[in-house]
Amino acid sequence: MIKINIDGKKTEVQNGTTILSAAKKLGIDIPTLCHQPTVEAYDACRLCVVDVTDGKKTKMVTSCNYPIRKEIEVDTKSDKVIKTRKTLIEMMLSRWPNVRAIKNLAGEYEVEKPRMKHPKIDYNPNACILCGLCVNACSEIMWEDIIGFAGRGDKRKVVMPFEEHNIACVGCSTCENICPTGAIKMVEDPNSPVDGARIKKYGYNVTKEMAQLDADQCDMRGVGTAHLAEIMDDYDLLPTMNYQYGSHNDTPNISSPVFKKKYFTQGLPDGCYLGCSMACAKTAEGFELKTGPYKGEKVLVDGPEYETVGGCGSNLGIFDPEFILESNFYCDTYGLDTISYATSTAFAMECFEHGILNKERTGGLDLRFGNKEAAMEVLHQMARGEGFGVTIGQGIRRMKKIFAEEYDLTDAQIDFMQDIGMECKGMEYSEYVTKESLAQQGGYGLALKGAQHDEAWLIFMDMVNKQIPTFKDKAEALHYFPMFRTWFGLMGLCKLPWNDVEPIDNAETDEPAKVPAHLEGYVNFFSGMTGKEIDKFELIRQSERVYNFQRVFNYRLGFGTREHDAIPYRSAGPVTIKEYESRSERYDKELEEKWDYDISGKTTEEKRDYLRKMREDAYEKLCDAVYKRRGWDSNGVPTLEKMQELKMDIPEVKKVLAK
């Protein structure tokens, strides 16, 4: 810490703090026209000048970009400083006499009439004062360079290149919002919203939050979703070796600081949603491939996202960032989903380790956990349509059937495959360990399309916060969140700006988990776009209509009932003795405290089996509670009354439900 003295007030600041920032903390006002905390200081207006005394020497500096490196004395109101500011204000007033911000300063500094006459006097009260905030905001907040300065001297102005409309501009309105004089106005909105201003207001708030808060929250602009790898490991939620465990000593090798330091090369908007300042997708350029048809070539890898790190990394027992990048590249190139490839391969690996598969059955592939050469070869085989890769490429549900039919397996082995095959409705699980969160087991099992967490991610609410202890609480969460998150799909919106950045006062709201300010923003977005006024309840209602219709659709096709919501036991608890013993303290405690089970003298097998009985029973009760909350019957089918209530009792639906 460095001691400083500003206008006689003493304080201590961190090395590098600007004088302006230190003065603000002391309640000392220094005038600015071109300064905003969200963009780098630019010293265009120079109104923030102050006197700095360092030992015997005194000099005048701009306080907005002067970093404090050693003990100094600052005078913000010396005669020289005031005189300089007055001259600057006078010059600005001579050019822009009607701009409110300048007129206010002139009043404050008692500048009545400028002594000079500017050749380019502009009487527009909304004139551009060339502060450069818009140019810097476009570059720093949006990572775009849509606008810039052109011309010199009194010809200097803010323009798009060649003063023509830049088609790269999506009208995010960041420049419009940051402009201190109102010089910038959006004149065209390609989406023709009914009330564009209403939408922009919300959009700008999110942009501002990204600029001010993201680095201290999820760092989505820095590393994207990859930051979750180390977090999930800390909470025992990072799937390791086919979801057997939730953490591993080698996780630091595949954590986000590794990707950020060594591989991520671009800090640019990825273009996935034009005008989005979250820009969370990352890329690794110049990555040299070690295998496959492009071996030896340097390529650009789009990613990795968290799911790829967890799936292709820890869940295969491979803690190698370069394997993750290479598998990410080849999955993208071959048109494969990294989650399905990874989770299917993890299943095959565990089958290999338990003797269900062997080298003869895999065509020579040594599919032990951690064998990256074999895992990569599986990927290439899938794409070439050759070898054992063809089998794994069909996914877990079919693999279970193929292995049971083609190999001479015992009943116990077939049951084991059922327990460890992490799929539901034929879709492979994404990359979270759900054993300790009953609500999240429902989040996967009760999702309409299969084992995906995008309907509900409730692990923290349930397992860590213990906010939803009862079946009724969990059922409410498994009603609200799937409906809310379905709404993003209905509108074609991304859900990440909902809760991967949050307003600074979110913690003080009544329901922080729902991020009320952002929920309100989405309501405004809908109403602003369509002109139809809705509220947060109608928003859920919109989803409910579609969600229930989808469930009826599934039912019509022979799915959409309780049996299809069943989950593999690995999702709910420890399948093997080794798994139980790896967290025996946790499981023993649950047996004794929650289930009143006397563990003394019991073998691990007995304890594991009793725990299983309890947890499987709990999952069924959860289904009961969720079906009831959603207005479905005990088999998980929407009732006609529910469809009537939603005004979705159209003849086709009635016909299906009459079956």
Partner: protein
Amino acid sequence: MKKKITVNKQEIDWEENMTITRILEVMNYTFKMLVVKVDGKLIKKQDYDRFVVSAHADVKVIHLISGG
């Protein structure tokens, strides 16, 4: 007998001068988007280092939903 505090309904040992930062360390709560309440009172992030929790306090560390 050791004094205790409750963190998210789980009892842990209380320590002299136990700050919120220390509780997060003991619980290995590394996620950043948190809401911390001690006996119902909201503790702001800037106070995590200096707010000292008394014995038998009821601490809630609410992790806000993330996940893709």
